[in-house]
Symmetry: C2
Subunit: 150 residues, 2 copies
Amino acid sequence: MRGDNRLSRMLHVLIHLGQEEGPATSERLAQMLDTNPVVVRRTMAGLRDKGFVRSDRGHGGGWSLTRDLDQINLLDVYRAIDEPAIFALSMSEDTPRCLVEQAVNAALESELREAKTSLLKRFEGITLAALAKDFERRARQVRRVKLHCP
Amino acid sequence: MRGDNRLSRMLHVLIHLGQEEGPATSERLAQMLDTNPVVVRRTMAGLRDKGFVRSDRGHGGGWSLTRDLDQINLLDVYRAIDEPAIFALSMSEDTPRCLVEQAVNAALESELREAKTSLLKRFEGITLAALAKDFERRARQVRRVKLHCP
DNA sequence: TTCTATGCAACATTAGAAGTTACTAATTGA
DNA sequence: TCAATTAGTAACTTCTAATGTTGCATAGAA
């Protein structure tokens, strides 16, 4: 598996929505993500169900935020996309008979659980507004670099 | 992808080797892991290259430890199997043009790097001897349970 | 009614781990 | 020397979950 991009993609899209006037269509968001409108709808569905965005059909429809970016954190988004697996590492069996295997799995599972808890706690402390602020800092930086190298 | 079992499997095998008299063949180890001798050789190759086990061909050959279990920790094994990806989460692009995407990736990568560092530090503190000790505790427990329910 | 948009089911593609086959090479021992 | 045993390895298939795609239904605006 090369990896699960959904979290990264949804964060990307939500911050763009925060910069928009009206709604953005799946088609436009798909272009931003270099993918397909169906993939966008599929993944955004979770965010809509959790009340972070709304979707409207027909002329002038599309996706829009229903909360400010400072009211959404990374844990919210992770949960909204259905809490995909964090780790690529996994155990060979769920309930092995072998006691050695049981001991190995218990140790690994304990460490991964701890790492996951700690990571999600950090996710909870990062709002999309903070990411948007970093984006703006980068945008100013680009402008400055451009002025220096015309 | 359901996940990468190599770390779990190698820990399992190494602890069994620690309980053995002579070498164990790939065939026997494969039975323990419910897999195939070729998969065993493929994964054990890294451990051999790093000097944790040796392999001998011909009659009476097979795999054996070249260090005590208290001289091998989980980080050693993780590195020996070529440091597979820890996380299933990943970024959509390596070097995106979009500044929003850059900000998102920077934040996620920073958190994942931090989580990985912390996890590997913990791995370093866990020796295979400690896992073997937990295995023995479980074995005693099973015996006790069996005595109570004959 | 027509155009635009999402909703969704069904299917194809993809990437990497795992599994398999078929063979070679080395070592032991009769 | 020869037969049996065991690892080494390349090449291929299978499996799984995310991703991509097609086609059509549904809803809303002009």
